[in-house]
């Protein structure tokens, strides 16, 4: 009896606490799970992907990328033109667009935002690279913005900079100390930020006066999950409506689940294997401790040739990826480069062995040539599985691999300091390929003190750099695409890194509550992490949405039942005890 009471006590004390808050579900709410914290709501400081995504919902950019094909389309500016020398760009902000507080959006807001970034170091924290080439930004009238650049800049229609309302921000004393949390936050996007509880959730309300038309949902809630398994479970239970960034196994676990629709989309990310090509600083000083053999491009090619990319995609990505080649994933159709017959590097361990022999690295008596180190991130399933696979591949060509899986910070430190032979890495790419291409120019290598670099693979190649400079000022789209393809071919040929796979973006949503989401691009595109806000903006609730499955009434019932049981047990016990006490005395 007493054992039962103890157990009951334990359960009851906790269960009884769980009673049902009154469900008031009149407004249509889209609940989205996010697994990354929000660092800042200040669009000039926010660097985390999650914060950028929320920022896009609050503030429109000057231009946008269309949902169906990611082509440049109207943002705050409706039209634009450039001068013959391509140094002056004139954008027209049409009449009729309004901030969420009813004030008109004008060219002065745009000029104010860019000038704030030009004059205030802190305002350049998140998006500073977009304005480094700006000479001046002016607004001669309410409708016209004139941007003058120092040199012709081909990315002028891809300025991913949130435009802020001048009438609010001109009163901000210090950008670096401004939290931007006075709710509701005045913005121009389809949703207005109304609440942020750190580490818990973010709430946005539909901007009914949004210039493209009001969104179809009333509220958009982002709820924070530290644990992606819990997020997937929460989708299954109906606590959230939309989840992304799922691992292949998590995605598979939702197959055939009632009320849940999965979306396997072409992603913006690729996974790569860095091969230290003999890292040097910007001034040509050697840095790090990469294996000297890898300075020989023939050795790097042999390493790449010994990896079976198809098998990696099938076994490690479980088929949820495409085999890698160039730096731009296939989702960006025109920039994506596919090696032709001659450029193709086929999986061929025998040829790789022969190439290493020819390069002057014969097998020694024990069958090995030289050892290499591979560094990856502990706890990332891909690195754990792919490293085992690579161990075998490298073993086949006489290279014993010493695998070290470390924390995110340690991995970062090793790749920054070039203290690696092979390392796992990866990038998310943008609509315009400039950024991901720029990571591999000589100028991105660190200074003499080893700091200030953003290089990805310590690549430095004259041909590549020349092509990079050319594409940056090539305004003929067809020609620029051709150059960008050439650059990727050069990168592929010189192998400072092997692009292993273009990861699919794995998402799922409650299709018993939402009929449709706008994907970008229309075919095989993503709902979340778009280059835009179409996924949330275009969310269409079902006419008769199923009641939220996560109803709390059963919990209340259990709580009440346990409480009653507890009281009865206590009474019985007390009576029994009084009886025994009487008997004993």
């Amino acid at each position: 009896m007493r054992v039962k009471l103890g157990a009951l006590l334990a359960v009851a004390t906790t269960v009884v606490l769980g009673a049902p808050p009154v469900a008031a579900q009149q407004p249509v709410i889209l609940k989205v799970a996010i697994t990354q914290q929000i660092d800042s709501l200040n669009p000039f400081l926010a660097v985390f992907q999650s914060s950028t995504e929320v920022g896009r919902l609050m503030y429109d950019y000057l231009t946008a990328y269309a949902a169906d094909d990611q082509a440049v389309t109207e943002g705050l500016a409706r039209s634009w033109e450039s001068s013959a020398d391509k140094l002056t760009w004139t954008f027209t902000v049409p009449e009729g667009k309004k901030w969420s507080d009813g004030q008109p959006i004008t060219a002065h807001d745009v000029a104010f935002t860019y000038n704030l970034m030009l004059t205030d170091e802190a305002a350049r924290t998140a998006n500073g690279s977009f304005v480094t080439n700006f000479a001046s930004v002016t607004a001669p009238d309410d409708r016209t913005v004139v941007i003058r650049t120092k040199t012709p800049q081909v990315t002028m229609l891809a300025l991913d900079v949130p435009i802020v309302p001048r009438h609010v921000w001109e009163h901000v004393g210090s950008v670096k100390d401004h939290a931007n949390d006075r709710m509701p936050v005045v913005g121009s996007g389809p949703f207005v930020l109304t609440e942020h509880v750190a580490g818990q959730h973010i709430k946005l309300k539909a901007n009914k006066t949004y210039w493209r038309g009001a969104p179809k949902v009333d509220e958009l809630h982002f709820v924070y999950f530290q644990n992606s398994d819990a997020a997937v479970q929460a989708l299954g239970k109906g606590e959230v409506d939309l989840v992304n960034r799922m691992a292949p196994a998590q995605f598979d676990s939702l197959a055939g689940k009632d009320g849940v629709t999965r979306n396997k989309a072409q992603g913006r990310r690729f996974t790569e294997l860095l091969i230290n090509p003999g890292a040097q600083t910007r001034t040509g000083e050697p840095i790090g401790d990469g294996h000297p053999a890898l300075r020989d491009v023939r050795v790097r090619r042999a390493v790449a040739q010994a990896i079976d990319l198809d098998a990696l995609v099938q076994r490690v990505n479980l088929g949820y990826a495409e085999k890698g080649a160039g730096l731009v994933p296939p989702v960006f159709t025109q920039w994506h480069w596919k090696p032709d017959e001659a450029q193709q590097r086929r999986f061929d361990p025998a040829a790789a062995n022969a190439a290493l022999d020819a390069a002057g690295y014969p097998r020694r008596a024990d069958g090995t040539r030289f050892p290499l180190r591979l560094i990856g991130r502990a706890g990332r399933a891909y690195d754990e599985q792919a490293s085992e696979y690579l161990k075998r591949s490298m073993g086949d060509i006489g290279i014993p691999l010493d695998v070290r899986l470390v924390s995110d910070n340690q991995l970062n430190e090793a790749t920054t300091a070039a203290t690696y032979d092979l390392a796992f890495s990866g990038w998310a790419t943008n609509v315009d390929p400039d950024f991901v291409l720029s990571l591999h120019t000589c100028a991105q290598r660190p200074g003499a003190d080893g700091k200030g670099g953003t290089t990805d693979a310590y690549f430095c190649d004259e041909t590549y750099d020349r092509l990079y400079a050319r594409q940056l000022s090539e305004f003929d789209q067809g020609e620029r695409v051709r150059i960008v393809h050439q650059m990727q071919a050069r990168f592929h040929d010189q192998v400072p890194a092997v692009v292993l796979a273009y990861d699919n973006a794995l998402e799922a949503y409650r299709s018993d509550r939402f009929a449709r989401f706008t994907t970008q691009p229309a075919q095989g595109g993503v709902i979340m992490a778009q280059n835009g806000v179409w996924g949330y903006y275009g969310a269409e609730p079902l006419q008769r949405a199923a009641p939220a499955p996560g109803s709390r009434w059963p919990a209340f019932a259990i709580g009440a039942a346990v409480l009653v049981a507890l009281v009865v047990t206590a009474l019985v016990l007390a009576r029994r005890r009084r009886a025994t006490a009487g008997e004993r005395e």
């Binding site: 008031a24 709410i29 200040n42 660097v47 500073g128 479970q233 950024f435 200030g452």
Partner: protein
Amino acid sequence: MRLAGRLGGAALSLVMVAVLGFFLFRVVPGDPVVSMTRGRPTTAATQEALRAQFGLDRPVHEQFWSYFTGLLRGELGTSFTFRRPVADVILERLGPTLLLVGTSTLIAVGLGLWLGVRAAWRRNSALDRVTTGVSLTLWAVPTFWLGMLLMMVTGDLFPSRGMRDTDTPPDFLSQALDVGHHLVLPSVTLVAVVCAEYALVMRSSLLEELHAPYLTTARAKGLRDDVVRRRHAVPNAVLPAITLVFLRVGLVVSGAITTETVFSWPGLGLLFYDALTGPDYFLLQGLLVVTAGAVVVMNLLADLLHGVLDPRVKVV
């Protein structure tokens, strides 16, 4: 005089913690500025400006001096990640942690001591065997696994994350009930894991008292079994458990990293984890000072309380 010594000792520990906190976290690998700008097109000039803004470009002894003098003025600096004062960031996470770890510690202490006493008093009974077996099993189970398992088997009954739903009405009652509802799974997980410690400590220390002559005397006086246990045996056996409880209460503030991670509970444990991935030096230093401070203070209290509970321990 002894009291002054204790207080001085505690103060010295706090200073050591503050000094250690500064150097300890500087050894954590990683460059905060690189973390801050990861995945962004960043110029070298921007990186330099960030370094200067957070004072990371200054010599270490200068950084230490400004940290230490700031600490004396009660300033903990600005978090790199959240771009806000460290004290604010810690304060908003303190409440949830106190609620979760406080509630579960209370339940675990009560339940653990109760079970420990019963198990020892009826040694080798069914209750004893079940208590010891279950406690040891739960003590050995990985918290992460237990949490996920509870989440799965309870199905729709309890929420999987956080402290509140986003669509709960704003009135106090609804909010309170909602928080209670969210509290169930994480606190059951925590109780299940730590309860064993109290039960086993209580059981073993009571077992040592069982054959003491004064219990025979008490029984010979004709006292009831319950009274012998409550009035005579337990007060003498409870001291080791009290020490343990106070050690634990000190740790309440530091949160429960694993449980908070499984259930995305917005507490200090989770914050600590996030800060380490920066590494967010100022936030880490602040967290260490606050959490270690709590342990030092609780230990001091335990010392003083011992004197009250057990006259043999002389404090003053």
